[in-house]
């Protein structure tokens, strides 16, 4: 990203320049699925008796967290594989996973805030899960800072892999914190909610909620991160090739 690669290094292999057919299909499917998911969330699912229409934001709120979870998980796999094999493609996967995960966890935070305003009567509260989710975002922002602070490209990838693996601990904390801190007001979706959770709802209580959640979970947790990571990996490959070409041009 920073230093230009060595000029005698072989050029990174280029992908087919019009996007590969599978990626095009996946992109189209994802866009259609987002539309369908929105229809399920905004139209099909019944209105929550207690919370009204605001509850519908939940169909994107929770799945986007799991999308971030899977993207960060991909970054861990990329990091481990990079340290083992030292192939650049794994580092590219890790970087793509973290950037996509960061975007999705911001979606998660913002939708949560919009929901909390009418339900908890505040945009932000220092609830354990909110705090740990915010810290999770900051950890991955720190990852990008660390990455940009290293000039040596080989060392940059190595350190990024190490930090990407360590940073996943904040994701796990965010996931389990409502089970170990009983004073949270954040509702749990699977299993019983904490005692003082505010704004809980039953999956079975309203018609269509389960179906809408299932569809949106597939869309936001799997399809969206998958598509975005793929595009980001392609973009990074192009960037690296351009850098290599530039270095070669400057050399001659």
């Amino acid at each position: 990203m920073t230093a230009l690669p060595r000029t005698d290094a072989p050029l990174p292999a280029i992908e087919t320049r019009p996007a590969p057919r599978r990626l095009t299909i996946l992109t189209v499917v994802t866009i259609l699925a987002i539309a369908f998911g929105l229809y399920m969330a905004l139209g099909y699912a019944g209105t929550d008796v207690e919370q009204g229409n605001v509850q519908r934001i939940f169909y994107i709120h929770m799945p986007s967290f799991f999308g971030a979870f899977f993207a960060f998980g991909a970054a861990v796999i990329g990091g481990i594989q990079y340290l083992r094999t030292r192939q650049d493609k794994w580092d590219t996967l890790a970087l793509a996973g973290i950037e996509v995960g960061l975007a999705l966890s911001l979606v998660n935070l913002v939708t949560g805030m919009i929901w909390a305003r009418p339900i908890w009567n505040t945009w932000w509260t220092w609830d354990p899960r909110l705090t740990s989710a915010a810290i999770m975002v900051l950890t991955y922002a720190a990852y990008l800072m660390l990455r940009n602070g290293i000039e040596n490209p080989e060392r940059q990838k190595r350190f990024a892999a190490v930090y990407g693996i360590l940073a996943f601990s904040t994701v796990i904390i965010t996931l389990v914190i409502i089970r170990i801190r009983p004073d949270t007001i954040h509702p749990a979706v699977i299993g019983p909610s904490p005692q003082n959770a505010q704004g809980t709802f039953e999956l079975q209580a309203t018609a269509g909620v389960g179906a809408a959640l299932g569809i949106n979970f597939i869309v936001w947790s799997i399809l969206v991160p998958w598509t975005l990571v793929w595009h980001r990996v392609r973009l990074e490959n192009f960037t690296q090739r351009i850098n290599a070409l530039k270095a070669r041009l400057l050399d001659t």
Partner: protein, 225 residues
């Protein structure tokens, strides 16, 4: 390979402690910072005695965390600036031993500062901070900070931003340690039943073990050149 793992670790610790005894650079600045920090917290919460007494656990751990960061930065920067790290890498010793040596050294310094803090906080905040279970908490908490800190400081001294980067990358990762240590300290001080807070001690110990294994494995990737 004549030197054993343990000998190597002890030699590195010995070197660090001796250098520290001669220069008094690290523990001196860490202790002064810690003292200043609890005084500033005391002033900042002056208006509300109850808030101050309830915040003791948090103040203790924030101070330990920041003092550790200060010490870790110095400790690893010294290794790098004086070419020590390269020399250790040239020596026929395992990288894991280097990690353990630096970790034990940093842990010792953090513990010295922590042990200084406990009686001081007992005096200044009028809470019984100096008690056996909290000593155990201090040991485990300092171990957690030193473990992630040693790994991350070794990384950050090799970057452009150096000292500024360590708190940014370390504090979020050290959060599980901080969370369980503060929780444990607060409930011990509140005089809760043992079964209530013993689980926090266990969580703290588990987090420590996880980080120890992770950092031990990852360290060799951080110093190869």
């Amino acid at each position: 390979m004549t030197t054993s793992f343990l000998q190597t670790v002890l030699a590195i610790v010995h070197k660090d402690v001796r250098a520290e005894l001669r220069s008094r650079e690290l523990v001196g600045s860490m202790a002064l910072f810690a003292l200043l920090s609890i005084l500033i917290f005391s002033f900042a919460l002056e208006l509300n005695r109850i808030a101050r007494e309830e915040a003791v656990g948090g103040i203790l751990w924030v101070t330990v965390a920041f003092a550790s960061i200060l010490g870790l930065n110095r400790s690893l920067a010294m290794e790098r600036d004086q070419g020590n790290l390269d020399a250790m890498l040239l020596a026929p010793i395992s990288r894991a031993a280097i990690f353990c040596g630096k970790l034990v050294g940093n842990l010792v310094f953090a513990l010295v500062v922590g042990l200084l803090l406990l009686p001081l906080m007992t005096l200044l905040y009028n809470r019984p901070v100096l008690q056996p279970w909290l000593l155990a908490a201090l040991l485990l908490g300092a171990l957690g900070f030193s473990t992630v800190g040693t790994l991350l400081a070794t990384m950050t001294v090799q970057t452009r931003a150096r000292e500024t980067l360590l708190p940014i990358v370390m504090l979020p990762v050290a959060l599980p340690v901080l969370l369980s240590a503060v929780r444990l300290t607060t409930s011990v001080l509140a005089g809760g039943a043992q079964e209530d807070w013993l689980s926090w001690l266990q969580i703290l110990a588990v987090v420590d073990v996880i980080y120890l294994v992770l950092c031990f494995v990852l360290f060799e990737h951080v110093i190869e050149e």
